[in-house]
């Protein structure tokens, strides 16, 4: 887009704001001049602007309702109720409106540090379980027992082979 030329604002939804702003009277003078120059040759933009301006005036006709006379009085009654509430109620309200939100990053940081500490020290601290009656059997001990059982099984098989071989020789 140069100083003199303007790409058609209707080419994309997020550039049509130029037309919306113009019809709302919120477009700065420089861009207004460029838009007007563009509309001299762009019928689509000119039609858009005519319709949008008409819509803008139609929406102006919708006046809001007057506010109740006792609005402030009711609000201050509500505020007095808050002020007079017990501390646990005020705490619950504070948590409900999001006062706890700043604590989220702090909690996350603490959890990350704690997780890192645990992972870092996992290799040096022997893992124990209290499942076996609270005696604390280490992983290493379990491995040794399994290894021993395997060895016993192997010896039994070897023994039976030797016994069978000895019997057949005697026959």
């Amino acid at each position: 887009m140069t100083q003199r030329e303007m790409n058609c604002p209707l080419l994309a939804e997020d550039t049509a704001d130029v037309l919306l702003d113009y019809s709302a009277g919120r477009l700065d003078k420089t861009r207004s001049v460029r838009l007007l120059r563009h509309m001299e040759t762009c019928g689509a933009c000119a039609a858009f602007l005519t319709e949008q301006t008409a819509l803008w005036s139609a929406l102006d006709e919708w006046e809001p309702e007057p506010v109740s006379m006792d609005f402030n009085r009711r609000l201050w009654q509500g505020i007095d109720r808050i002020a007079g509430a017990p501390w646990y109620r005020r705490l619950a309200d504070a948590l409900r409106v999001g006062a706890w939100k700043p604590a989220i990053p702090l909690t996350a940081a603490v959890l990350i540090v704690a997780a890192g500490f645990i992972m870092d020290h996992q290799g040096t601290v022997p893992f124990t379980t209290s499942a076996a009656g609270g005696n604390g059997v280490s992983v290493m001990e379990v491995d040794q027992v399994e290894q021993t059982l395997d060895d016993v099984q192997l010896l039994k098989q070897f023994d039976s082979i030797v016994t069978e071989a000895g019997g057949s020789t005697r026959m």
């Binding site: 550039t15 919306l20 008409a54 809001p64 505020i79 504070a94």
Partner: protein
């Protein structure tokens, strides 16, 4: 708001007086029910008061206020999406058109009927917009908020806001095109 945070209750009164009407008008156009809009506005101000001590000026006060208001209005609209609520809303619409909105010169019965019909069309056209589009249009048109402020209030990007507005106005132009050029009866 910073003074309110520091315990200055008079400043809260100033905030209330300054922002009460724009807030209620926004909520009224969102939910199209005056008593409900005032109840929601009460809740907005109570929330502001309750969280005053933790207020951080990360955005303009009005943006923060409209963010709370939009949340409450959207929640209310979602909760009220049943037939019973719709019937109640229709009744309120019928009774919400006070004579004081009309000009001082006494209009004829016909003029009043035309006036009410036009208003009803505008209300209906706004009411059928998807909730986020509706909120975006009301903040843009009636509260004259900037795209960046609307984006913060709706928790989306500026580009998304422009897109919401483009589509919303497109729908409104189509629905209200026949009103172009015809003014309200004076």
């Amino acid at each position: 708001m910073l003074r309110v945070r520091d315990g200055d209750e008079d400043s809260f009164r100033v905030l209330l007086d300054k922002h009460r009407n724009p807030l209620i008008h926004f909520l009224y156009r969102m939910v199209q029910n005056q008593p409900v809009s005032e109840e929601l506005a009460q809740e907005v101000f109570l929330r502001i008061y309750r969280s005053r001590t933790s207020y951080e000026p990360t955005a303009r006060f009005t943006t923060w206020m409209f963010r709370i208001a939009t949340h409450l209005a959207l929640n209310w609209l979602r909760d009220e999406k049943n037939e019973r609520a719709q019937e109640r809303l229709d009744e309120d619409r019928g009774s919400d058109l006070p004579a004081r909105e009309l000009p001082d010169r006494k209009p004829s019965v016909e003029q009043r009927m035309v006036y009410q019909a036009r208003l009803q069309e505008i209300r209906d056209a706004i009411a059928v917009l998807p909730e986020k589009q509706r909120a975006a249009v009301l903040m843009h048109k009636y509260q004259e908020m900037e795209y960046a402020q609307i984006a913060v209030a709706l928790e989306c990007s500026e580009s998304a806001v422009k897109s919401l507005l483009f589509r919303a106005y497109e729908t409104l132009r189509a629905r209200l095109a026949h009103m172009a050029g015809r003014r309200m009866p004076a």
